[in-house]
Point group: C2
């Protein structure tokens, strides 16, 4: 069995990878925001969101991750994305 | 410039990787939970948490990710971990 220090080093390494992936994710959503502005599409797309929540639930279930937790992370992420897209389009909340 | 469909495929691919990483993260925290139970350590460790928040803030800033968003994801994650650790130790909220 690993000791606490070793386990925590593993967690820190995963968090480093998570931040890198999330940063890449926001680079892509920044592009989506510019695309939506250029094509006059609204920041929020409820149909796409529903598909994303359905997809993350299935992925979480298959990976043994609490689906409710996964959906909460996605909610937080989409809210941040929408905030950014509104800023790109000059829409105030 | 990529079209919306291509960008969304990129986002879905990142979400698949995120779920895989988070599932690995919870496997490690499950081990931490068992370690804490075996060594009679409390589920919450505020000193470790403070270091994690400091670390994620620095990582987010370096990666160009909103540090507040990164801290919110970490908060959600630690709350889920503590819930699991309490369950392992048979502590009710």
């Amino acid at each position: 069995m690993k000791n606490l220090q070793e386990l925590r080093e593993g967690l820190d390494a995963i968090d480093t990878a998570l931040v890198a992936l999330l940063a890449e994710r926001f680079k892509l959503t920044q592009e989506v925001g510019l695309y939506k502005k250029a094509h006059q599409l609204p920041p929020v797309d409820k149909q796409r969101e529903a598909l994303q929540f359905e997809r993350i639930t299935k992925l979480a279930e298959d990976a043994g991750l609490n689906p409710e937790y996964a959906r909460n992370v996605l909610r937080l992420t989409i809210d941040e994305v929408v905030k950014n897209h509104k800023a790109i389009q000059g829409i105030k909340d």
